[in-house]
Symmetry: C2
Subunit: 518 residues, 2 copies
Amino acid sequence: RTLPSSQPRLRLPPGLSESGFEVAVKDLQQSIGSGNVVINDQPLQDGWYLEHPNTHDAFHVVEQEELVCSAVVYPGSTEEVQTVVRWANEHLVPIYPISVGRNVGYGGAAPRVPGGVVLDLGKRMHSILNIDGENASCMVEPGVTYFALYEEILRRNLPLWIDCPDLGGGSVLGNAIDRGVGYTPAGDHFANHCGMEIVLPSGELLRTGMGALPGKDGADNPTWQSFQNNFGPKIDGIFSQSNFGIVTKMGFWLLHDMPHQSYCFTFAKDEDFPHIVDAIRPLAQKGVLGNIPQLRYIVQELNVTGRRKSTFHSGNGPMTREEIRNAAKELPLGDCSWIFYGTQYGDEAAIERQLDTIKKAFSSIPGTKFWLPQDVPEDHYLHSRVQLCSGVPILRELDWLNWLPNAAHLFFSPITPTRGKDAQKIHDIIVAGHKKYGFDIFPTLCIAGREMHYIANKRRAVALLRELDQVARTYSWNDQALLKFNETMKDALDPNRILAPGRCGIWPKRFRDRGWEL
Amino acid sequence: RTLPSSQPRLRLPPGLSESGFEVAVKDLQQSIGSGNVVINDQPLQDGWYLEHPNTHDAFHVVEQEELVCSAVVYPGSTEEVQTVVRWANEHLVPIYPISVGRNVGYGGAAPRVPGGVVLDLGKRMHSILNIDGENASCMVEPGVTYFALYEEILRRNLPLWIDCPDLGGGSVLGNAIDRGVGYTPAGDHFANHCGMEIVLPSGELLRTGMGALPGKDGADNPTWQSFQNNFGPKIDGIFSQSNFGIVTKMGFWLLHDMPHQSYCFTFAKDEDFPHIVDAIRPLAQKGVLGNIPQLRYIVQELNVTGRRKSTFHSGNGPMTREEIRNAAKELPLGDCSWIFYGTQYGDEAAIERQLDTIKKAFSSIPGTKFWLPQDVPEDHYLHSRVQLCSGVPILRELDWLNWLPNAAHLFFSPITPTRGKDAQKIHDIIVAGHKKYGFDIFPTLCIAGREMHYIANKRRAVALLRELDQVARTYSWNDQALLKFNETMKDALDPNRILAPGRCGIWPKRFRDRGWEL
Ligand SMILES: Cc1cc2nc3c(=O)[nH]c(=O)nc-3n(C[C@H](O)[C@H](O)[C@H](O)COP(=O)(O)OP(=O)(O)OC[C@H]3O[C@@H](n4cnc5c(N)ncnc54)[C@H](O)[C@@H]3O)c2cc1C
Ligand SMILES: Cc1cc2nc3c(=O)[nH]c(=O)nc-3n(C[C@H](O)[C@H](O)[C@H](O)COP(=O)(O)OP(=O)(O)OC[C@H]3O[C@@H](n4cnc5c(N)ncnc54)[C@H](O)[C@@H]3O)c2cc1C
């Protein structure tokens, strides 16, 4: 059924009528300024997708386009975030905080409940509150991107690094709160945060760590970015990957810059897989590897060049093994099956010794070759690793059309012990899974000392969302004890359920079974 | 007015009558066996202190002895812990979980509410559930002490270390749940745990991390000790230093054994202090130091010998600076003011280079000397460091009379940034403070890259308890926001307030203002 093109239309939050919504919006516009609350009610021409990401995305889940927000709010300070949260409680409006989201997967974050209100913290709260050279730390607001932080450190020419994910346009805070990871020794972003300021769903303001200790004359506590723990329970963790609070400030430890060397190994046969894994484990456990390495399958080399798939393959089924081999020959690394990317840190002598240990470990697998950056052309992926692994944010042209939050990685990453035979089992399942769905498979593995993330991402993740909700249910030991525990806490902290209901599968009662769970 | 000696007497939990208590106890004895519920009702002869630590301690805080428990319960399994918790909810009896407590301050933990019931998990739940060599991890029950774990690893001669505190008789789980620290690179015990099983105050059973993911056919998830995070909020932290749950199982990562070298530096003058601190900071931040080092004042050298103070000093005021200097001359390290204890790890060449860097850093302070273990006699403290810092638990005979949880350090340890002049200021205040109380001062400093713990402990901690409650209040930024947040969670998780009320200053409503806050 078609709509003539000039109808103005608006997607209301659940349980609010048009007029109730208008009153609520006017109420908020009065508090924080009308320019900072934008109702999303333009008639929908198809052609204006270009420069505004966070109201609607390209997937048709059910018929009409449902997952659109009703308004976007731009708070300018912590106080205004509190105003918005109290407002949300007053009008029972679900709000979805994001920090940047601008070029995140060209998709940006749509709310999990139709008509939810997106709370875009990054637009007006984007200042680096401080960088402390002596303490090697910084404190940022949600809108600070890796680029902004990187430039500011440059500008003050401090000898410090940041750790960033593949996408440098993300938010330092957003990524960490999502437990994102990067590629320097300080790869675990959340573990390297030090102190947070959080607006609770009730609108109360909380500081964690030493920030909970008042400084002299109301100033911040001087050790806020120096020591992570306050006395008593360690509560920071529950605000990560959750909807228990909105983080408005976050402190981070920064690495001191140091000499570093990135490299990669290529392995010739598919069956080498379990042996590679068994060789890596001890290296990781003993801390020989400088950071968390990546093991990629050759297919991924093809698409990282950015050329269209059609140049290598006609039709839309998966590429055959053969076509893959042929295409690989023209690439700089030549024909191989797996590529191992790693980086070492420390003074030159230390790096050299570690490389020897690593070469020795891999030497037991025939047909293995070792590459340094100067062995491949300027535009090869290894060169972006050099930057990534030394704290320089990069911005690749990526062309696939997709929509994923950080969990995209975790989704297809059942985590397995770092053991050969376990890894093999998983591999076969994945291969079978992809055939069933008739997709090319290009796995990326992040291998730590004791576990490995088996990562894949693919074109349409229709089933994805449904299963994201399931992911939370899969942690169902003892009849959903974990999920219930989270809901008990959610109900205690957010009785009106206005903060990002559904985030990470935590659906409060009010929204359960309403058909928005997929 | 004197009590004749044969009176039977019993300290009842609040709000329970003698008979109500009996019924409650009988009820529990039927469930878990009468031998495992011991009522504490013997008439009090002075002489029976020797072999049972956890009912009563030797201090008279107010007149009659109040802080005594009414019974001790020994659960034998997780199910029994759940039974006890449901029992406590049914009869509104506050319970205090401990894991070992045997030689902690020779006192063990008295309950914070008179007549509370001590839940001694360590007595019957003391098995090492597994040690996984390949994964370099283990899982233990509360009763496993550092000794037990150490011997088991030896018995299986696995090339693995544990990390232990000064006292090796403590519980691996108890110490970690208290956020204890040790002296190897894996010094932060809690940060190196991986997966917990927790009985919630409601009696529900919960597993964190990958344990929340059911394994095949009901087995534990194989990656329970391999990856720390479950999907969604990271909740482990809130069970540390808190009364939100009883931990019945806890997984730990273990270090691989590696070459190591312990050493110490001595500094000549009191005024060197701020310069030492400024020299250490960059070393710590750049990860040159292998573990968290200790900086001690010379007085402590005197008492660590275990000799009575009176041999150095007559009368009971503080020792003068002069007497300290004289007494120091006869000691192995000779006359100095500060001693720095450190350890380096890694292969020999790496260790050597690090030591050079460290010597260079300290060379800017005149009168500094460098010592290796072989430079001092066998019974010097440096030799116990060698063991401590390579995962060998030790057991010093210490002669002062005390009762403290881990916070003893934190109490006198305002955490300050690792900066010379900040350190200096703190030092002066402490010195003045000690003069006011007319005590000798022997500080120990644990210095990290960005902060330092200034640790002192002294004889009678009368003021201590009072201030432990205050410590929680000192984290009072934004009008007690943190404390309120904890109480909200406490009320949601433990509506009947039976789990360790008062622990870490979290007093639930039912017990507030009843005169038990000191
Ligand atoms: C090709 C590709 C590669 C990628 N590689 C990596 C990688 O290597 N490592 C990695 O970590 N990620 C990776 N990502 C995902 C990456 O996390 C995100 O793209 C980006 O960092 C997150 O977006 P953002 O920083 O703008 O945060 P946002 O979109 O602002 O936030 C993410 C989520 O966190 C919550 N949130 C944000 N701000 C707040 C707040 N202030 N308070 C409470 N909750 C908040 C919201 O629920 C939001 O949905 C990759 C993604 C793609 C597409
Ligand atoms: C001279 C001296 C030096 C010391 N040096 C150090 C040091 O270097 N590093 C350090 O960390 N500590 C140090 N300590 C303190 C040390 O923490 C304790 O002595 C000991 O480790 C704790 O006792 P425990 O392990 O038996 O735990 P417990 O006494 O069993 O537990 C401690 C507390 O944790 C809680 N708890 C215990 N088990 C559970 C459970 N299963 N579930 C829920 N809550 C539970 C209880 O509230 C209990 O009060 C030192 C103490 C002294 C006196």
